[in-house]
Symmetry: C2
Subunit: 180 residues, 2 copies
């Protein structure tokens, strides 16, 4: 019993650190969220985090996995909607993660772990995008290139601020150019 209880509490502690880190990283970004800040918000000593994670980038990755899982659920729920709606939902989801995606790109050059995470993530997105293209009737020989184009347009929309109407227009135009 005691053994079990302690085991549960351990999981809770790590979970709490991760949830707190997620909130702070989403709201304030990587550089503005110090390890000390996370520790304080989680109610532990600054170096305690290092018992659960190798370093700050490791915390970032744990948070990224949560964020991605959440976004996937939201987008997959629209399985039967037209492609445009799903793309817009995806953008909305990633945008709610604040500057996290930009942070990933800027950490890639510092941390090999982040680089590996980024590369895996990117090729996953690419595969999904390619199947969407084929499913939407595109020629297999061109699907890969068009998938990349669409991803880059989405990334551009995420990197630069747009109101909803403009975003809608640009996505529509991209899909029109690709599928006409």
């Amino acid at each position: 019993m005691a053994r079990n209880k302690r085991h549960v509490e351990q999981k809770i502690k790590k979970e709490e650190i991760e949830l707190v880190a997620m909130q702070l990283l989403k709201e304030q970004g990587y550089d503005n969220t110090s390890m000390a800040k996370i520790a304080k918000a989680a109610g532990v000593a600054p170096n305690t985090i290092y018992w659960y994670y190798e370093n700050k980038d490791d915390v970032l990755i744990a948070v990224l996995n949560r964020v991605v899982a959440q976004a996937m659920v939201a987008v997959l729920a629209l399985q039967n909607e037209p492609l445009k709606e799903r793309v817009l939902k995806l953008i909305e989801q990633v945008e709610s993660a604040g500057s996290l995606m930009t942070d990933v790109h800027s950490r890639v050059s510092h941390s090999n772990t982040v680089k590996e995470w980024h590369d895996r993530f990117h090729s996953m997105v690419e595969q999904l995008s390619i199947s969407e293209m084929i499913r939407a009737g595109l020629d297999k020989s061109e699907a890969a290139l068009d998938a990349k184009m669409l991803i880059y347009v989405i990334e551009g929309l995420l990197a630069h601020p747009h109101d909803l109407a403009e975003r809608d227009l640009i996505v529509s135009q991209a899909l029109k150019r690709i599928f006409n």
Copy 2:
């Protein structure tokens, strides 16, 4: 004479700091280039840089202006080449600046000065891109959207590694989708 000489030396000193900073920032990126490193390479005390620049982001902007001017010259030299060649030249130029463009994006949230520089730069690129679209025969009503798309594809190519052949393919595909 003495007056003049000192004036010249002043310009030389600032110029040297900037050239050294450009080299370091291009090679090692923003975070890996400390003010102390720049100062040492320029042969001055670390805080001397603060006489010429308000802060580190100010140094970054001075370097960015140099890099952009250089790229503009290279691209404008191809005035009469087809659009595809000019786009590829632009990508090549920006790529030679290493991670500087990614660094700009990640500094935007920290420094208002960098944000302003970024916004100005971005709208300049957008205007140029729109005129290219119109010049290439696109309908005026769609030129703005297609210009944005093309810019985002270019940014995507810059943010992610591609060999020359793949890059060529993606640019060709993008132009084909836009102009067919």
